[in-house]
């Protein structure tokens, strides 16, 4: 069976440190748009940590939710693209083909998670940051949509390596940058079609929920919430 990449994010472990955000930027050459553009709502971060307050002061609590592309199985972004720039791979990823993107931005409007990012200008890296660009990841030009790829370059590299060594991929052999860097180990990545993988085991947990799953997008990212976000209510998990 073909692989199907998926992720589990344990919200009760997430401390909101945003290390995943930093790691993602470094790994995927995500441009920094600068103060002015960020103020116009054009900041780019393929993964973000959403912060919500729960309750009233002084009883207030912070809740964090890392949100990245959910790599939906029924992704609204895919059929809306008139040029096939947004399409589904055989391994369950929502691929974005930068070269094919003409910038209608329809995919980003259709995405309920708002995890698609548009290059309003050509990206620039102030010196010496241009030296730290990851050579495995292409940079994107003006007018092109971009988004989380589950670090497809790492997936490809691991698959090629395993094939060269004539063996199967091991669970946890590689991880996307965000998962690799997460200090409290709130994120787990792996093949959902491998019933023995940790991510598949966790996804079967009754703590598992999906972000906006009611929209029928069938996301590949699962969130764990032991405690409800509503104060006082406890989840059955």
């Amino acid at each position: 069976m073909a692989r199907k990449w998926g992720m589990v994010v344990d919200l009760d472990r997430c401390t909101g440190c945003e290390a995943c955000v930093v790691a993602c930027r470094a790994e995927n050459n995500v441009p920094t748009v600068g103060e002015d553009q960020a103020g116009r709502g054009r900041a780019m971060h393929w993964i973000r940590v959403e912060r919500y307050w729960e309750g009233e002061f002084p009883e207030a609590r912070l809740k964090f939710r890392p949100v990245l592309c959910q790599q939906c199985d029924a992704a609204p972004c895919e059929p809306t693209c008139p040029t096939y720039a947004s399409h589904h791979t055989s391994e369950g990823l929502n691929a974005q083909i930068y070269n094919r993107c003409i910038g209608t931005r329809y995919c980003a409007n259709a995405c309920p998670y708002s995890v698609r990012f548009f290059n309003f200008y050509n990206p620039v890296w102030d010196k010496p940051f241009h030296l730290q660009l990851n050579p495995d990841v292409s940079v994107r030009e003006v007018g092109v949509m971009e988004k989380c790829t589950f670090c497809v370059q790492r997936i490809q590299a691991a698959e090629i390596q395993a094939e060269a060594e004539q063996r199967d991929l091991k669970d946890g052999e590689f991880n996307p940058a965000c998962v690799q860097t997460c200090p409290p180990k709130a994120m787990v990545f792996g093949d959902l079609n491998d019933p023995g993988s940790e991510v598949a085991r966790l996804t079967r947990s009754n703590r598992a929920t999906q972000l906006l799953g009611e929209l029928g997008t069938r996301p590949s990212v699962t969130y764990f919430e032991a405690e409800s976000w509503e104060e006082g209510e406890k989840d059955q998990g």
């Binding site: 040029t83 259709a110 309920p112």
Partner: protein, 464 residues
């Protein structure tokens, strides 16, 4: 009303084509420079990147698609209305049809530009067109944007044919009246029209077919435009009412646009004897009908959303009813209903051209706001409150909007320079008051078959 001879009609309606006033040049210069400014703004956008617009995440569409839907809506003025009036054989349509059909053609041309210039990489727009590429990549036929391409392409072609056929006898008339370079031009345009019975018969048949074919095309175009929104799971976009709601809105704004254009032509080209108060009265009644249909639709849409009380939709709902978009929303209600309704419903106001024209202006403004209010509040309040955003246009977007209006004016003025804006032959045919359509054309057939201005004697009553 006044009775005019054929010669007078020819003189009145050909005057704008044959005589060029200073006013014409001033208008062309003014509008042309505004259009040039718009092209300049677009160039600036291409050079720097689309970031010079105010769009952001999550409001990825704003003025661009608002203008697109607005102009496609205006385009429903013409072909659809004129086709319905032709099929219904409403005699009063005769002086109106051509002004209306021209609006369709130009509004489609202008509207169709927006999906191209709003692209992040507009130079690659042709990837939306299905062409045999060496990479064997086709457009995504499941995408409503690909449907748009076919819908607008079909409507543009159809409405061009619908406009062009009845122009042929008038081109022949001009050809027979002029000399010099104009003679050469109109000889080509008249396509060898000699006014033989066979030619008249074919024209009549072609117009009948086109009038019937163009109505479903027009309805489908704006339905497909509405599906750009309705197909996406965005709060208050994902609605089954959008198809008919958009079609009704399009006809509403289209009639308003037509009335404004007619009032303008009447004044500038001194067509007071042709575009009569009765035309404005009749179109005002149509506008009134569409006004009520529009109110019905927006009420149904809002009521079901409010009653359903779905959290993401309610966020959008309240932002338009009493949140930051409320001033625009209530302005829209004023413009689309509260002002035009009494102006059109009360006979004393409707029978004055001024009343109908004021109502039309408010409707055009209101319908532009309506499209804006469909697009921006929904995008700025999608599901996750963390991603809520806002939008403010920049000078580039405003310039392009103004320029699109100037382009409409410019194209209209240039058109009325080259083509009699009132269909002369149809006006003459209508004046003979025969009992049924076929007899009416037989009148034409019986008369001199050699000239385009076949009906050349008798009195012509322009009153309806």
């Amino acid at each position: 009303m006044s009775e005019k001879t054929i010669a007078q009609v020819n003189e009145d309606l050909l005057r704008p084509v044959l005589r060029t006033t200073r006013r014409f040049w001033i208008a062309v210069l003014l509008l042309g420079s505004v259009v040039a400014a718009g092209i300049g703004a677009f160039g600036y956008q291409v050079w720097n990147g689309i970031g010079v617009w105010g769009i952001n995440r999550p409001v990825f569409w704003a003025f661009d698609i608002t203008n697109f839907v607005f102009w496609i809506g205006i385009s429903h003025a013409g072909t659809l209305i004129s086709a319905i009036l032709r099929i219904a054989d409403a005699g009063w349509r005769r002086p109106v049809t051509r002004c209306a059909e021209v609006i369709t053609l130009f509004a489609l041309m202008i509207g169709g530009i927006f999906p191209i210039i709003h692209l992040g990489r507009p130079w690659l727009f042709f990837w939306m067109i299905p062409y045999p590429s060496e990479r064997q990549i086709w457009p995504q036929f499941r995408s409503p944007l690909a449907w748009d391409f076919f819908a607008i392409g079909t409507y543009l072609t159809g409405s061009f044919i619908f406009l062009a056929y009845p122009m042929i006898p008038d081109f022949a008339l001009v050809r027979d009246k002029v000399t010099g370079w104009r003679k050469k031009l109109y000889t080509v345009l008249a396509l060898g029209w000699r006014g033989t019975p066979r030619q008249w018969h074919r024209l009549e048949k072609a117009m009948h077919i086109m009038a019937i074919v163009i109505i479903p095309v027009a309805v489908s175009v704006h339905t497909i435009v509405s599906w750009d929104f309705a197909m996406a799971p965005v709060p208050m976009w994902h609605s089954t009412i959008f198809g008919p709601y958009f079609v009704a809105g399009a006809i509403f704004s289209g009639i308003a646009g037509l009335i404004i254009a007619m009032a303008f032509l009447r004044k500038v080209l001194s067509l007071e004897d042709y575009l009569l108060p009765v035309h404005f009265d009749n179109l005002g009644k149509l506008l009134l009908t569409m006004c009520l249909v529009w109110v019905y639709f927006i009420f149904s849409e809002r009521l079901t959303v409010w009653y359903g009380n779905e959290s993401a939709e309610m966020a959008v709902f309240w932002t338009t009813q009493r949140g930051p978009f409320a001033p625009l929303f209530w302005t829209m209600v004023f413009c689309n209903f509260i002002i035009p309704f009494p102006l059109l419903a009360i006979k004393r106001f409707r029978t004055t051209i001024t009343g109908v024209v004021i109502a039309s202006w408010t409707v055009v403004i209101g319908m532009w706001l309506e499209r804006y209010l469909i697009i921006v509040p929904s995008l700025s309040h999608k599901y996750l409150p963390y991603t809520y955003g806002s939008y403010r246009p920049t000078w580039v977007e405003v310039t392009i909007l103004v320029a699109s209006n100037a382009a409409m004016g410019l194209l209209y003025i240039l058109f009325s320079k080259f083509v009699p804006i009132v269909s002369i032959w149809e006006l003459k045919v209508g004046s003979h008051k025969p009992p049924v359509v076929h007899h009416r054309l037989s009148v034409v057939r019986d008369s001199s078959p050699t000239g385009a201005s076949a009906i050349d004697d008798g009195l012509l009553t322009t009153d309806q």
